[in-house]
Symmetry: C2
Subunit: 201 residues, 2 copies
């Protein structure tokens, strides 16, 4: 509950602060209440901003959910820049390390919420596709491939990353559920690398 004195301090300023506050609030409330139980109003209240900011910054509850739950700790443009920097032969390793470190830090609980919602809400599936394929991996593959394979490559990368999240956080397969990040990076890095830059036909 937000107390009255806190509320009187007024709305947060706009821009990146509002966006970050909404993401943090959304993550907390989606984890507490699930996708259906969480309201845009409750998330905005927790973040101390106007509910209209959800539409302004994310386009709606579903997109906010996908991004909050995927928990990329910077915006997609910065993420892509970061991943594309450095040796192109080690892109696969960097992608796994970045995502796994981020997901591990939340204990995987929100990944489970994401998977459950994807299976029951078409809108969440759309948001997931939008995020994974168009905003993140598609941006990377479009930079790398100009032979018409970019979207298929982005799908393939997403399939391995989502499947990895499934067995590590949702279905708790042993031993991968407790494997060190670098063990997974070594095992799965070459897969992601081939999907990005190698032969796929």
């Amino acid at each position: 509950m937000t107390s009255e004195p806190e509320r009187r301090r007024g709305r947060r300023p706009g821009g990146a602060d509002t966006r970050a506050a909404l993401l943090a609030a959304a993550r907390a409330i989606f984890t507490e209440s699930g996708y259906d139980g969480a309201t845009v109003r409750a998330i905005a209240r927790r973040a101390g901003v106007d509910p209209a900011m959800v539409n302004h910054w994310f386009g709606g509850k579903e997109a906010l959910f996908a991004e909050a739950v995927l928990d990329v700790p910077f915006n997609p443009r910065a993420l892509i820049g970061e991943i594309l920097k450095g040796d192109r032969d080690r892109l696969g390793e960097r992608i796994i390390r970045t995502f796994l470190t981020s997901w591990d830090s939340q204990g995987g609980g929100v990944f489970t919420a994401l998977i459950r919602s994807v299976a029951s809400h078409d809108g969440v599936a759309n948001a997931l596709r939008q995020f994974f394929v168009h905003q993140v991996f598609g941006q990377i593959t479009t930079t790398l491939a100009d032979d018409g394979t970019a979207m298929l490559r982005a799908n393939l990368v997403a399939s391995q990353m989502i499947g990895l999240g499934m067995v590590r956080y949702v279905a708790h397969f042993e031993p991968i559920d407790k494997a060190e990040v670098e063990t997974v990076v070594s095992a799965v890095g070459p897969t992601i690398q081939r999907y990005l830059t190698g032969p796929i036909d």
Copy 2:
């Protein structure tokens, strides 16, 4: 509905027929009613067998669910024999082709039911792990590797196969949702092959 005359023909004989009838009935009823709505009694009635046969053949509702939904059209032992036959360098291709052809034939609806249930029922996650890791891929990797990596390899194969099902059937990523089976076999086969027989560290 089963008509009276049909019922009077009596219970099905035991053995493989009973098992197959239960799988077909389970697939239909889980798809109609979801995991929670389906009862062992209703499945047994549809199959025309005694409800005790569910425990006898599958050990319970969760294991029946996992197997019905994974829809391997033969028993795991036969499946493994089939996959291990032939060129060991093309194991990866054969695994993808076998699973994708089977999943495609059901339109992916039951895969979605599986994913939704895995995210909300620990028992289903256990059944999925038991099936994928111990009964199928673990049997294959144990045959191939004796260096202590068999279970990790089985986890990795499962992660890619489950992720592939997620993007193809549940989240409908384009273009992989409508890609030809052989396109996916070419793209993902080498991944499965490396997880089975290649370097993973």
